[in-house]
Symmetry: C2
Subunit: 418 residues, 2 copies
């Protein structure tokens, strides 16, 4: 059924069979990546067959995904439809040098981009006969996994660090996963999660370890290309934490080119909060690998990752291979992008969700070669995930008694006294 | 361009011209309803032309809507796509007597059903050359209006009552409307809003007063019929507060029948919280009109409306004409429906969003004539709108130190000690 033919180790490059399922290369312990029979796909698949009216994302891109049992989609899906790609119409004047599109992956059932990859991953758990699925997360991935596990009737095991945004905590706990919050730095939660996975055997749904997460995320690229009537934008701006989103988008665009769906490839611009930008650090210095830096805090907490060692290296490769860049943006730039998206484009996003646009605005402001052409910024999470994010909600309603005089005064001040 | 040919007064039934725009019948002061040239529509429009791949909702249903300037859609839209309709697969056994579908209108850019009607209403404000738009709201409508006003570059004026759910307050204020919170019962906010509208002249976007709100909401019916391959379900369950959603759905289904898109009509089941159910009260007693009752509190605050006098009467008509029912559901039933949706179907919804399913589960439990057939429940708002809603989030994560022994103990208890 599926065109997936095997796995490839990202370290030793050896081929590994799809079955039995494993997280790591049996030869060297490296991470694994799904490979397809692209020749057969190229012969059979045509863009015209992939229109956006055909069910959920898993159904729309079925032939691009490693799904053995399409009948299970109905047990998993929450009806994820393609996300909107809207033209930004009221950005600051410096952005007028480009045609800017906002690909809004906050517009998913659990309000973040994680819903691109989690339905496929949970479906794979069903295919493999697993009863429990697990993840360690800053909140968006745990909410998504808990939702799809609930839908599929699987037990969800969720590890969190000591800080979780209020909306993310709600949207995880409402599904009643088994949730463990570790009162320590996030990396400790990761270590404990891995030990627990090995002892208790739940299906590890983390983005680096589980190769199916990347496969689901690839659909971002497919949708963007389709949104543009089967062409790639000139550049795609994406936030980078562990880097899986960037890696998946790049894989997806390259697949489309290989299959003849698009001619050119976009430049990939990976954007990180400057206070925690190990990938940018490596990019700027021309390094081949990413080194961990000291932990830091950013309002964009979901991509504030100090040690994206493996994924970071793949991001570097994607950025360089595509002729793109890695850039860091300041906290003020992120907050400003949040405000612009809300007040001028009508999109409420969490700070992480605005990081890509912050990078885009920076490069357009600088008048770089990214001025001009079609630029896409990935919007990754809804503002309701993190309503308390610093400095975003700077105004409160005007409180008045039930007295028209008070209303009148407030309106005259605000509306200019007509 | 548009098939809209005029307005009809809902009180005196006199015809009123579309232009100049007015909120009320010039003859009797009644509310107005948009009418179309259904004969011309019947000759020209075929279901096959209305597939779900054609842009946003306004673009998909353009011929059904009173839009004079389609070129303005791009200035307004946030890319609202059709919402998912997913089959409920893990409801309690008593529900197995029917095929239950969940039409998830929480899956919109501002996470509630209000995004069905607000883009059209804001577009009409642009067509009419208005600079400011206004609404009084418990939070979902204000968030939606503020978002689309921001996108369109219009000033939003928002009146709220003294109680607003935390997510709804965030998702309104993030767009920086002029927001006035009246420290008094909701009806006082409504009265003050109307005076302010008359003095300051902003475009009133409230559902009863502005006839375009109903027109946008009709797309719910169109989508449900299309989701079912151009047939109506046997019954549609909807929450009823002021009643506009019910009225709009009924109008939409009747239009589709009139145009030959569907053969039969669904029964309309209007569901209210029993603690505040004036429409149910009138229905049960066979009254022709709805009388206001004393204000009350429900966890389903967005449909806790004690005086839906005009809209309520239209709901009664829809329910009776369709062979449906009006029923009240208890607070415990609503909370239970919230839990079922989250823990068994993977959908996080605010209490109001679960009211329709609570009604559906009640009727299936009773073994009424609604057992059997295709039943659709409208899910109206995301759980992130009201994360603090009583009794929903009853569990917190298990807090542990960075110590594997503690993790192990927690998992053994929860996973059954393997």
């Amino acid at each position: 059924m599926s065109y997936a033919i095997g796995l490839r180790c990202l370290s030793c490059r050896k081929a590994v069979s799809l079955s039995p399922f494993r997280y790591f290369c049996p030869h060297c312990g490296g991470f694994l990546d799904v490979e397809y029979d692209y020749e057969a796909m190229r012969r059979s698949l045509k863009p015209s067959a992939f229109d956006s009216s055909k069910g959920s994302i898993l159904e729309q891109w079925l032939e691009f995904l490693p799904i053995e049992s399409p009948g299970l989609i109905a047990r998993v899906t929450l009806g994820e439809s393609p996300t909107p790609m809207v033209r930004a119409t009221r950005l600051p004047p410096s952005a007028d040098t480009a045609q800017v599109w906002l690909k809004n992956d906050s517009h998913f059932p659990t309000c973040s981009l994680k819903d691109r990859s989690m339905p496929l991953t949970v479906l794979k758990a069903l295919e493999l006969g697993r009863n429990a699925v697990g993840i360690v997360s800053s909140g968006n991935a745990s909410g998504s996994l808990a939702a799809y596990a609930a839908r599929a009737g699987l037990r969800a095991v969720v590890f969190m660090g000591s800080k979780v945004a209020s909306g993310k905590l709600y949207k995880t706990m409402v599904y009643r996963p088994l949730a463990i919050q570790v009162q320590a730095p996030y990396s400790e939660a990761e270590t404990l999660f891995q030990r627990a996975r090995d002892e208790f055997g739940f299906f590890d749904c983390n983005g680096l370890v589980n190769p199916y997460r990347i496969e689901g995320k690839k659909t971002f690229a497919y949708e963007v290309a389709r949104d543009l009537h089967w062409r790639a934008p000139d550049a795609v701006f994406m936030p980078a934490g562990y880097g899986n989103g960037v890696v998946a988008a790049w894989k997806g665009f390259k697949e489309l080119q290989r299959l003849g769906f698009i001619e050119n490839l976009p430049a990939i611009i990976a954007v990180q909060p400057a206070v925690c930008a190990p990938i940018v650090h490596a990019y700027d210095r021309g390094l081949a690998t990413v080194e961990a830096i000291a932990p830091a805090d950013s309002i964009a907490e979901a991509v504030c990752v100090n040690d994206p060692v493996i994924g970071g290296q793949r991001v570097l490769e994607a950025v360089r291979e595509s002729g793109g860049r890695a850039i860091g943006v300041g906290e003020g730039e992120i907050a400003q992008a949040v405000r612009i998206l809300a007040e001028r484009e009508g999109l409420a996003v969490e700070p992480t969700g605005a990081v890509a646009l912050a990078g885009l605005l920076r490069l357009l402001e600088e008048g770089s070669r990214w001025s001009g052409g079609i630029q896409v910024a990935s919007i990754t999470g809804h503002g309701l995930n993190d309503p308390d994010a610093g400095g975003v909600l700077v105004r409160h309603p005007i409180l008045v008694e039930a007295d028209y005089g008070a209303v009148q005064r407030a309106l005259r001040v605000a509306l200019g006294g007509r």
